[in-house]
C-alpha cells in the first residue's frame, strides 16, 4: 500500500505539471484541444488525491504500522473517529490533506465557471496546478507520508496525543485548511484575470461566493481552535496570541478587508488595484501561515520544531509567488484605472476604505509582533519577545475603531452624504450608543475599553435594526405586504447586504464577549478538604480528592461544591487524566459551568495524595459564551449571503409570501432550539449500575435530573457521574420503602429546595403556564400564519410580487432603488 501511495504522489506531480503546461500553451495559442487536455489532467489530479486519501485512511483504519506516519500518529485502540483525524495530525499528512482539498476546490470552481469564464479557466487551472505542484514536490522530496520502516516494523503505534483527541481539535484543522485553501481560488482567478487582461469585474463575480465561503470556514475554524484552547488546555483563556493562532488570523484580516472593498469596486469602479493586491496578500498569508507554523522560524509553544530545509523551500515559493503576482499586477496597471474618484470623505466608500486600512493595519501589526522576536534577533542580535498584553493594548483601540466603522458605514450614503440626511440617519444609533455607554458606566463599568465597547455595541445594533426597519418599511410600502414578508423580501433582494448585517450582529456579540474579558477574576489556591475560596460572585469549597482508573487512563478528580452568592449551585469535578503510556503529559479536565452571564472555570492544577490537598485555579469569565454565540450568528449571516437566488424565489415570486414568513419563523424557532449550552461533566468509571426494579422506578429515573451542576441536566438514569449514582441509590431506597410516585417526587423537591431537580415542572397550578407556553406560542403562530395565508391568497396576484396596482410614489421608488439596488 505504501508504495502505491508513493507512486500516486509522483503521478499526481507529473500530471499537475502536465495540466500547468497544457493550459498555458492552450490559452496562448488559443487551442481548444490543449486547454481541454489540461482540464482533463487537472481533474485527474483531483481524482488521484482522492485515492491517496483513501489509501492513507485505509492504512490508519487497519493500523498499518509499517508506514511511519501511521505509526507515529495513531494506535490500535484509538476510536475510529480519531483514527480518521490522525490523517491531519502531523505535518506530512496535513500537506497531503491540503493538496486534496485544494484539488477538490479547484475542480469544483473550474467546473462551475467553465462556460461563463471560458477565457479565465485555463489560467485558473495553471495557477492552482502550480500551487499543487509545490506541495506535491514537498511531499516527494521532504515529507512523504508513505515513508515506511526499512528495518523492524513496530507492532504498536505511538498514538495521537490525548490532548488532540478532542472533538473540536479533530475538526478545527480541516476547517482552517478549508479556509486557507479556499483563498487560493480567488487568487487563481485574480491571476487569470491579470494574465489574460480580462480585468473587468467578471473575475470578482466568479470568486465572490468562494471568498465568502473560505472566510466562513476560516472564521469557524479559528473560533473552534479558541474553544478547544478554552475547554481543553485549562489556562482559562481562549486566545493567547501564539504564533500558530496568529497565522490563522492574518489571512482572516485581509480576507475581511477584501470582502468589503469588493463592494466598492462593483459599485463605484474604484480600488481595482487594491482588490487585486488584497487577493494576492491573502493568498500569500495563507502560505506564510503554514510556513510559520511548520518550519520553526518563529518559536512557538506549539510549533513543529526547526526544519531549515523546509524553511528555505517555503521561502523560495513565497518569494516567487510575490514577485510573479505583483509583477503581473504592475504590468497590467494601465488596465486597472479607477472609473471614479472619491467624491467626499463623508461617504460610504470612504468608510469602506477606512475599514480596509484598519483591517490591513491589524494584519500588519499582528505580523510585526509575531515576527518581532525573529526580527529583533536579526537586527540587534538581542532576542526580544512580546507577550499577550502588548497585543491587547494595541488591538483594543483598533478593534473599537473597527466596531465604530461597522456602525457608521451603513449609515453613510454612497458618493456624498447630505448633512440633513446624516442627522436623521445618525440620531437613533448615536442615542442608543450613548444610552448604553452611560448605563453601563453608571453601573460601575470603567469607560475606557469596556464602557466604550458596550456603547459601540449599542450603536452598531441600532444601526442594523434601523437598516432593517427602513428597508422593510420601503419594501412594505411598495409591495403592500406585511412587515415579516417585507423582511424576507429584503434578504431576497439583497442577500449579501442583509446577510452582511446579520454577520455584523454576530460581531457585536463577539465584542460583548471581548468586553467581558476585562472583568475576569482568578484565584490560585492550595486547599485542604473543607477549605474554600471566594471568587465573587462564586464560592468554591473543596470536598475531596478521588483517584479512579478506567483501564485506559488514571483519573485524579477533585470534588468541589460551588456556590453563587452563597446559594449552592452544585458539585463540580475538575480532574487530571493520565493516559497509559503518556503519564508525562496529563490532560486537564476543566470543570466548567456556563451561563450567559459568566462561566465558572475550575482547574485542578496540582494535588498531593498524602495530605489530600488540591491546588485549584478558579476563574470567573464574564460573557465568554457570547463569543461562541456571535460566531454562530456570523456563520448564519454568511450562509444567508451565500444562498443562491433560487432559494429565495418563493419569497419574491408568485407564491403568496406567507410561505416565506412561515418558513422564517420555523427557522428561527429551530435555531433557537439548536442553541444548547454544553457543559463538562465527569465520567466515573466505577459507576454502580442501579437497575430499576419496578416500572415506576424506571419512570422516575427519567423524571429526575442529576444535580451535580455540570452534567447539563442529564436524567439520573442516563448520567454517569458519581452524583447521579448517589441519587439513583437514594431513589432505589425510597422505592423499596414503598413510597408512591408523587411522594418520591415531593421528597426530591423538598430535598433540593425547588423543582429544579425535575426534568420538567410538575403539571399543576402556576406551572401549567410553563407547560402551556410553548403550545400557546405554537398555536398562535399557526393561527397567524394560516390567517395571513388566507389573506394573501385572496389578493390578486396578477401583478407579480410587486403589486402593480399599488400606487407608487416616484420619490419612494428611487429611494427604494437606492436602498435595495444590489450588486448581485
Amino acid at each position: 500500500m505504501a508504495s502505491l501511495g508513493y507512486f500516486l504522489i509522483l503521478a499526481a506531480f507529473v500530471l499537475a505539471s502536465g495540466a500547468f503546461a497544457a493550459s498555458i500553451a492552450g490559452s496562448r495559442r488559443a487551442q481548444r484541444s490543449l486547454v481541454d487536455g489540461g482540464l482533463g489532467l487537472f481533474h485527474t489530479v483531483t481524482a488521484i488525491m482522492g485515492v491517496l486519501s483513501a489509501v492513507i485512511v485505509h492504512a490508519f483504519v487497519v493500523g498499518d504500522f509499517s508506514i511511519k506516519y501511521v505509526q507515529r500518529y495513531s494506535d490500535a485502540s484509538q476510536p475510529l473517529f480519531y483514527k480518521l483525524a490522525s490523517y491531519w495530525g502531523g505535518l506530512d499528512g496535513s500537506l497531503m490533506f491540503w493538496v486534496t482539498l485544494l484539488a477538490t476546490f479547484g475542480s469544483v470552481a473550474v467546473y462551475v465557471n467553465r462556460e461563463r469564464h471560458r477565457l479565465l479557466v485555463p489560467w485558473v487551472v495553471a495557477v492552482i496546478s502550480l500551487v499543487e505542484m509545490f506541495f506535491l514536490f514537498l511531499m516527494v522530496i521532504h515529507n512523504n507520508p508513505f515513508e515506511t520502516y526499512l528495518t523492524t516494523v513496530p507492532t504498536e503505534g505511538a498514538g495521537l496525543s490525548p490532548l488532540l483527541q478532542n472533538f473540536y481539535m479533530a475538526i478545527h484543522p480541516p476547517l482552517l485548511y478549508l479556509g486557507f485553501v479556499g483563498m487560493t481560488i480567488p487568487f487563481a482567478f485574480g491571476m487569470a484575470a491579470l494574465a489574460t487582461g480580462q480585468v473587468d469585474d467578471s473575475w470578482l463575480r466568479a470568486v465572490r461566493s468562494w471568498t465568502m465561503m473560505a472566510w466562513l470556514f476560516l472564521t469557524v475554524g479559528l473560533s473552534l481552535g479558541a474553544l478547544w484552547a478554552y475547554e481543553e488546555l485549562g489556562w482559562g483563556g481562549y486566545w493567547g496570541w501564539d504564533p500558530v493562532e496568529n497565522a490563522g488570523l492574518l489571512p482572516w484580516f485581509t480576507a475581511t478587508a477584501f470582502l468589503h472593498s469588493v463592494i466598492v469596486q462593483e459599485r463605484r469602479g474604484m480600488l481595482k488595484v487594491w482588490n487585486m493586491a488584497l487577493v494576492i496578500v491573502t493568498f500569500f498569508l495563507t502560505i506564510f501561515g503554514t510556513f510559520m507554523t511548520r518550519s520553526g522560524v518563529v518559536q512557538s509553544v506549539h510549533s513543529f520544531g526547526e526544519n531549515r530545509e523546509l524553511a528555505w523551500l517555503f521561502t523560495g515559493f513565497m518569494v516567487t509567488t510575490l514577485v510573479l503576482s505583483f509583477g503581473l499586477l504592475i504590468r497590467r496597471l494601465h488596465l486597472l484605472r479607477a472609473r471614479n474618484e472619491l467624491d467626499s470623505w463623508i461617504s460610504r466608500e470612504a468608510a469602506f476604505m477606512a475599514n480596509n486600512w484598519v483591517l490591513l493595519f491589524s494584519a500588519f501589526f499582528v505580523l510585526f509582533a509575531t515576527m518581532f522576536p525573529t526580527l529583533s534577533e536579526a537586527v540587534t542580535g538581542e532576542r526580544l519577545t512580546v507577550a499577550a498584553p502588548f497585543f491587547n493594548t494595541w488591538l483594543t483601540p483598533v478593534g473599537l475603531v473597527l466596531l465604530f466603522l461597522t456602525g457608521v458605514g451603513p449609515l453613510l450614503a454612497w458618493r456624498k452624504s447630505a448633512i440633513s440626511n446624516l442627522a436623521s440617519q445618525f440620531m437613533l444609533p448615536t442615542a442608543a450608543g450613548v444610552v448604553t455607554a452611560g448605563g453601563v458606566v453608571f453601573l460601575g463599568v470603567p469607560f475606557w475599553a469596556s464602557g466604550l465597547c458596550f456603547g459601540l455595541c449599542g450603536l452598531v445594533t441600532m444601526t442594523i435594526v434601523q437598516e432593517f426597519w427602513q428597508g422593510a418599511a420601503v419594501r412594505r410600502q411598495s409591495t403592500g405586504t406585511d412587515i415579516f414578508t417585507a423582511l424576507v423580501g429584503l434578504f431576497a433582494r439583497s442577500r449579501r447586504r442583509y446577510g452582511g448585517y446579520v454577520v455584523h450582529l454576530g460581531i457585536v456579540l463577539v465584542f460583548l464577549g471581548f468586553a467581558g474579558g476585562g472583568f475576569e477574576r482568578e484565584e490560585q489556591v492550595l486547599l485542604k478538604p473543607g477549605q474554600q475560596v471566594d471568587v465573587a460572585p462564586y464560592t468554591v469549597r473543596f470536598s475531596s480528592l478521588g483517584i479512579t482508573d478506567d483501564g485506559q487512563k488514571q483519573m485524579v478528580t477533585a470534588q468541589v461544591e460551588a456556590f453563587r452568592n452563597g446559594k449552592p449551585i452544585g458539585r463540580m469535578f475538575p480532574a487530571r487524566w493520565f493516559f497509559r503510556g503518556r503519564e508525562g503529559e496529563p490532560t486537564t479536565e476543566v470543570a466548567l459551568r456556563r451561563t450567559f452571564a459568566d462561566d465558572l472555570y475550575i482547574v485542578l492544577a496540582g494535588y498531593a495524595v498524602e495530605n489530600q490537598s488540591a491546588t485549584l485555579v478558579v476563574k470567573v469569565n464574564p460573557l465568554v459564551n457570547w463569543i461562541w454565540l456571535g460566531v454562530g450568528i456570523m456563520a448564519m449571516g454568511t450562509f444567508i449571503a451565500l444562498l443562491p437566488e433560487r432559494a429565495f424565489a418563493f419569497a419574491t415570486a408568485k407564491v403568496p409570501a406567507g410561505a416565506a414568513t412561515t418558513t422564517m419563523v420555523l427557522l428561527l424557532i429551530l435555531s433557537g432550539f439548536g442553541v444548547g449550552l454544553e457543559a463538562q461533566h465527569v465520567e466515573s468509571a466505577q459507576t454502580v449500575a442501579v437497575i430499576p426494579k419496578t416500572p415506576m422506578e424506571r419512570e422516575l429515573q427519567s423524571q429526575i435530573i442529576c444535580m451535580c451542576g455540570t452534567c447539563g441536566r442529564k436524567k439520573i438514569g442516563e448520567c454517569t457521574c458519581p452524583d447521579a449514582e448517589k441519587m439513583r441509590i437514594e431513589l432505589a431506597g425510597l422505592v423499596e420503602k414503598g413510597m408512591t410516585h408523587d411522594q418520591i417526587i415531593e421528597h426530591f423537591v423538598t430535598k433540593w429546595g425547588s423543582q429544579e431537580v425535575l426534568a420538567s415542572p410538575i403539571d399543576k397550578g402556576f406551572n401549567r403556564l410553563a407547560w402551556l407556553l410553548p403550545y400557546a406560542v405554537g398555536a398562535i403562530g399557526v393561527v397567524a400564519a394560516g390567517g395571513l395565508a388566507i389573506r394573501w391568497s385572496r389578493r390578486p396576484s396578477s401583478g407579480g410580487a410587486y403589486g402593480a396596482n399599488v400606487p407608487v410614489d416616484p420619490a419612494l421608488e428611487s429611494r427604494l432603488d437606492d436602498e435595495l439596488r444590489d450588486l448581485d
Binding site: 501564539d242 526580544l384 519577545t385 512580546v386
Partner: protein
C-alpha cells in the same frame, strides 16, 4: 493626477512612519529580553530590574515548596551558571527536576522573581500537531 499622487504618497509615508515610530517605542515597554541563564549570570548587575524571559534547566533536587502554599524556590542553570528563582503560583505539570523552563520576571540581587513559569514540552511531543502550551500564570 501627479499632484494628487504625490499627495497620496506623502501622506501614506507620513502615516506609516508615524505608526512604525509609535510601534517601535511602545514595543520596548511591552518587550522582554529572551536570555539564557549563563548569558545573564556571567555579569548579572546590568540586568537587574529588567523585564526578561530567562531560559534554563531546573537543577536536580533544587525545587522547594513552602508547606501548604504555592510558594516555590528553585534553581535553574545553563552552562556553568545557575540562579535561584522565586515563584508563587501554579506550576506546569512538566515542571520538575531537569525540566527545560522559561521564566518571565525580573532579576535582582536576591534572585530571579518569576511571575510566569513555562515548561517546554517533552521532546517526543514535537510534531504532534498544534500541541499543548504548558501555559500557566
Amino acid at each position: 493626477m501627479s499632484k494628487k499622487a504625490t499627495r497620496a504618497v506623502v501622506s501614506a509615508v507620513v502615516v506609516l512612519t508615524a505608526l512604525i515610530a509609535v510601534l517601535w517605542t511602545t514595543v520596548s515597554e511591552g518587550a522582554q529580553y529572551y536570555k539564557h541563564v549563563d548569558e545573564v549570570m556571567n555579569d548579572p548587575s546590568p540586568w537587574y530590574g529588567k523585564n526578561m524571559q530567562l531560559h534554563g534547566f531546573v537543577v536536580d533536587k533544587s525545587i522547594e515548596q513552602r508547606p501548604d502554599t504555592l510558594d516555590y524556590r528553585f534553581k535553574i542553570k545553563s552552562g556553568d551558571f545557575a540562579v535561584t528563582a522565586l515563584y508563587s503560583g501554579v506550576v506546569p505539570d512538566t515542571f520538575k527536576d531537569g525540566a527545560e523552563v522559561v521564566l518571565t520576571g525580573r532579576l535582582d540581587a536576591s534572585g530571579f522573581k518569576a511571575h510566569i513559569v513555562t515548561a517546554k514540552c517533552p521532546s517526543k511531543y514535537e510534531a504532534a500537531g498544534p500541541g499543548a502550551p504548558a501555559k500557566t500564570r
